[in-house]
Structures are given as C-alpha cells and as structure tokens.
C-alpha cells in the first residue's frame, strides 16, 4: 500500500494575465519508509510539489492521496489537523522558533498541535534529543547553537509527533559539507528507527547520493525516476 498516490496532478499559478503551469500532470506513488528525493533545476516544480504533498497548497487538477486521505477536499482547519498528525516539516532555514529553547522547539508540536500529556511529551522529546545528540544543548535558544545543530533540532521537531511522512525542502542548503552528511545520516537513522518516509526537494548531490529513489523534475514534468541499484524508469 502506497503512502502517497499522485495521479495526473497539475498546478497552475496566475501571474496577472499569464497562467504559469508549475506542474503538468505528475503521477507517482511513494511507499512507506522510503527515502526519496525530487531533484531538478530551480523552477522545475520541486517545492510546489512538496507543498502539495504537505497539504500547504492544493493541486489545480488531478488526484492526490496522502496517508489514505484525499487531501484535495481538506479545508483549512482539516489540513492543519492532517499536517499535525501525519506530516513533519524540515525547512532550509531551519525555522526554529527563536523564543523557545531547543527542548521547547521540539516539544512544540506535541504541546500546541497534538496536546500530548506532559509525561509522554517528556519521554518523546528526551528520546529525540538523545537521538539527534542535542540533549546537552536542550536549554539553549536557537541563536545560541550552530546551523547544523539547528537542523538537528528541526529534524527532531519534525519527528516528534511520529509522522508517517517528513518533507524536507533543501535541508542541507545552509549547512557545510560535514554537517550536511551528519544531518543526512541522522535522517536515515530516524527513517530506519521510526519507519518514517522522508521526501526531499533538493539539487544537493550529497542528498541525491544518499536517497533510494530519485524523481527527476524539469519544467513541471516528471522526466525520470531512478531507483538506486541500477533500476531506471521513465
């Protein structure tokens, strides 16, 4: 059973009188616990596609099922609830809340989105702090830690709700080589441990080299799929 089923999804944007076709009928399926990347040049539609999968936006046409839910029919509140329960986000700029400590940033989705009991919150946040190696930094604020550490915190925050899917838009773009690999290894470890599906939008070769399936996008079209191990489709 696929975690994501996309059938002929299209996304159009209107810029004044001009309609821009950002996605032109994409179809694909992604299985649970996959480590997948959408790659392509700027403007190819990677971020647009991730936004659709993440229920931050809606396709203009087509069918999109995420975690057995037809996300096209979710209203604003239902989308928020769906994201809170099923999807974790990792952003290029980390997007940690500056007024919360490392611990509180990771705790935030449990506290403000899922209303998890305190004892359970503590257990899960502590486990993730240990998993991402930030337990000794838990009381620091985002401006007191490095970029790599921020992204590890962001990974922990994305995983704390045990989502089925984590979407990461250029997660290593602002990290140095060594830190980027550390974060990728961490995400792989998390995938192995929690069976979470990771979907990246990137053109960073470090990630591309590590993922198991690569979807190649160009001008809003799927130009090919590469499954590591020599299989090639499209």
């Amino acid at each position: 059973m696929s975690l994501i089923i996309a059938e002929n999804i299209q996304k159009d944007y209107k810029t004044g009188e001009v309609t821009v076709k950002a996605l032109k009928g994409l179809s694909f399926e992604i299985a649970p616990a996959s480590f997948v990347s959408f790659v392509g040049p700027s403007g190819s539609g990677k971020t647009t596609l991730l936004n659709l999968i993440g229920c931050l936006d809606k396709p203009s046409d087509g069918k999109l099922n995420v975690a057995d839910t037809n996300v096209l029919h979710l209203d604003r509140k239902q989308s928020a609830l769906f994201r809170g329960s099923n999807i974790g986000f990792i952003f290029q700029d980390f997007n940690l809340l500056p007024v919360l400590t490392v611990y509180e940033n990771i705790e935030y989705p449990l506290l403000m989105v899922q209303s998890t009991p305190a004892s359970e919150r503590k257990k899960r946040v502590t486990a993730l702090l240990e998993a991402v190696g930030m337990i000794d930094q838990k009381d620091k604020y985002p401006d007191q830690i490095s970029g790599g550490q921020k992204q590890r915190v962001a990974v922990a925050r994305a995983l704390v709700t045990n989502p089925k899917l984590v979407l990461a838009d250029e997660p290593t773009a602002n990290l140095d080589h060594k830190t980027a690999y550390m974060v990728i290894d961490l995400m792989k470890k998390m995938r192995d441990e929690f069976k979470t599906t990771f979907i990246f939008s990137t053109h960073d070769q470090k990630i591309v080299g590590e993922v198991e399936i690569i979807y190649m996008l160009e001008d809003g079209e799927l130009k090919g799929t590469e499954v590591k191990g020599g299989k090639r489709n499209g």
């Binding site: 936006d57 928020a80 809170g84």
Partner: protein
C-alpha cells in the same frame, strides 16, 4: 493556555524596547486618567459636600409648587402647621435620616439706620439647622457659633458693604402674607462667609423671630432640609421618601409635598455633570491611546513574524491557536500597562495629597485638594484598558491566523 502565555510573554520580551515604549504609553494614559479622576472627583465631592453640608442639606421638602417659584420666596406657599406635623411624623420614622431642619425663607429690607438694602433671610432653629448643615457653624467667621432670639447672622459681603460690625443693632423690615409691613430690630451676632450657590449669601435669624416679624399666628415653614446618615443612599432614600410623601394628599386629593434632592436645587449639579462628561472624554482618550499603540505594536509583531507564523501553521497549529497567541500578547501588554499605571497613578495621588495643595472656589479660599481614587474606578479603568488591548490585537491576530502558510513561509 499557560504555554500560550509563556510564548506571548517571551515574544514581548524579545522586543524589549518596543514593549517598554508601548507599556509606558499605556501607563502614562492610565496615570493621567487616574489622577484626573481623583482630582476632579475630589473637587466635585468637596463642592457637593460644601453645598449640601453648609446650606442645602441632602434633600428638601416643600409644599407642592414652591420650588417653581423658589426665587420669589413666596410666603403664600408655606407649609401650614397641619402639614408640618404630618411631614415631621413621617420624617421621625425614617432611620436613614440624621437630622432635619424646618426653615422659613423670605426677603426683606435691611437697615443699619443710615443705609438700607435688600436681604434674603433664612429663619431656623439653630441647633437643628447646625445638625442638618454641619458646615454652617464653620462659615461663621466672626462671632459665636450660636444664634439666639433677637440675633442675626449677616452674610459677609452685606456686612462689609453696609459697614456693620458684631454687636451692632440693625433693623429688618418685611412684608408679610397679608401685605402689611413689619419690622424688628436685631443684634449682629455673627458674620457668615458667603459661598457659591443658592442660599450662599443669605442671612440667618431664629425661626421664632421670623414668625413674629411675619406675624404668623401659627408656625408656617418654607421647607424642611434633611441630612442623611449615608449620602451614598441618597437616591434610594429619595425614592422611598417620595413614595411616602405621595400618599399625603390635600382636600382636593392632590399631593401636599414635593421632594427634591440637592441635585435639583443647585446649579452646581450641572458643573458636576460637566466634570463627569470631561472624565468620560479623558477615558475615551485613554482608550484611543491603548487602541492605537497596541494595534500598532501588534501589526508590527505580525509583520515581523510572518515566517514564524508560516512555520507554526505548517506544523499544524490551528488558526484559532495562532489568533490566541497574538491576542494574549496584546492582553499581556494591556495588563502590564494597567498594572504599572495603577501603581504609578496611586503613587502620584499620594504625592499630591502629601503636598497639601489648596485652591479657591468662588468666595471660598484655601480649600484643601484631597485627591481620592476609589477601587471601583481602578477596576473599571484596568478592565477597560485590558478589553481595549484585546480588541486592538484582534485585527492583527486575525490576519496572522488567516495567513496562508505557504505564502508566509515564502516571506522574506
């Protein structure tokens, strides 16, 4: 909810200078309002006290129709002996009444044997009058604090104008109800300080002297002034007494008496109302200050945190929670501004009282300004500030909660 407060407070502390400026603005507004209310309220209460405690009393009962002609001091609208007895019978049974004083008010000619002028006189039983208007003895600036038969207390301006001193003999000539003229010689027993308001320039004589000079066969009175034990119960007691008096009918089945509170008898009531209106406008200004400053700071806060809003929305924070987050920030600013404003305002009021500031009101000199603020005023102002803060935060908070996460995340 506690976590929303924690985040809100931390966000406020994040922009310390701006938060401090906004809170200071609210504080200054609250301080101004508290000080204005306390000073104007104190002025108002003092003047009401002066007027009621030194001449009017809290309430007055007249014969029906008297007040409409009160400027003429009509003797033909006096209460007769029977009506006085019925009225006193009612008043004696009211536990709310501290004291009451029957009065005859009339006009006449005053002569020092050299010059003659007009005079308005109030004839009273001195002991009952002094209990009903306890500040009256304090107005007697020279002479004893008593009034015996054959004596007159003269208003100071008249005494000065007519060059009359204590112990001098003077003559009062009056026209009685029948139109005949009568006169009586009095000894000046005291000079009464004039005050602003009706009756503030009247002279006083003993009521039995008045009955004699007016050639009354039976005692008649113009009015009964009433003093209550608790001034704050004026309205409720007034309604009660009104009900009791309305049952007292004459032979034509018409009410005998009419009852008026000081408010209906003194033009100062309009000044008191104006003070209330000014206070209302000052409060409106405070509301405007709070509304604009909080709205401004919250609009800025939303604008500066668009990406954060996008992040928390993407994570799954419900729009209602995002709205609450910003509303609570405004609420906290209002609470802090109101709390500091109250503390500073009370301190300023205490300092004003310690400075013992005096002022003049009409002929009254050296009135001590005693600024008072009531807990209810503090409560009303605080609640107003907080409610306005919340209202001012609503629009920016609503905007934040309705923000599309995808657009917010793209914001640079």
């Amino acid at each position: 909810m506690g976590n929303l407060f924690k985040i809100a407070i931390r966000n406020l502390l994040r922009y310390k200078r701006r938060t401090l400026l906004t809170a200071s603005l609210i504080t200054v507004g609250v301080v101004f309002v508290l000080v204005f209310i306390s000073i104007s309220g104190s002025f108002k209460n003092m003047m009401i006290g002066q007027i009621t405690d030194s001449m009017l009393g809290h309430l007055q009962v007249h014969r029906k129709g008297y007040v409409a002609s009160i400027d003429n001091l009509p003797l033909n609208l006096n209460l007769k002996a029977g009506a006085i007895a019925r009225l006193e019978n009612i008043l004696d049974k009211q536990p709310e009444i501290e004291a009451y004083s029957p009065r005859i008010k009339f006009g006449g000619m005053f002569s020092n044997f050299v010059e003659t002028t007009n005079i308005r006189l109030v004839a009273v039983y001195p002991d009952r009058e002094f209990r009903t208007v306890p500040l009256l003895p304090l107005r007697i600036t020279s002479g004893g604090k008593t009034l015996n038969r054959g004596e007159i207390l003269l208003p100071d301006l008249l005494a000065k104008g007519m060059k009359v001193k204590l112990g001098d003999a003077v003559v009062v000539v009056v026209t009685n109800q029948d139109g005949s003229v009568n006169g009586k010689q009095f000894k000046v027993a005291g000079i009464v300080e004039g005050i602003t308001g009706p009756g503030g320039r009247d002279g006083y004589i003993h009521i039995e002297d008045a009955a004699e000079v007016l050639r009354m066969e039976q005692m008649e009175i113009s009015e009964i002034a009433i003093r209550l034990k608790d001034f704050n119960r004026l309205n409720s007691f007034s309604q009660k007494l009104e009900g009791l008096l309305s049952k007292e009918l004459n032979q034509q089945d018409k009410p005998i008496f009419e009852l008026h509170t000081w408010e209906k008898l003194s033009p100062f009531f309009n000044i008191a109302r104006m003070i209330d209106v000014m206070t209302f406008f000052i409060k409106l200004m405070l509301i405007a200050i709070v509304l604009i400053s909080i709205m401004n700071v919250m609009i800025m806060a939303v604008y500066e945190r668009i990406r954060e809003i996008g992040t928390i929305a993407a994570i799954g924070t419900l729009p209602g929670k995002i709205l609450n987050m910003f509303v609570i920030e405004g609420f906290c600013l209002g609470v802090v501004g109101a709390a500091i404003g109250n503390i500073v305002g009370i301190a300023v009021i205490l300092i004003i009282n310690m400075m013992k500031i005096t002022f003049n009101f009409g002929q009254q000199k050296g009135l001590l300004l005693q600024a008072n603020i009531y807990p209810m005023d503090i409560l009303v102002i605080s609640v107003t500030v907080i409610i306005v803060s919340v209202i001012a935060s609503l629009q920016p908070a609503f905007k934040a909660s309705r923000m599309e996460p995808i657009k917010a995340l793209r914001h640079v």
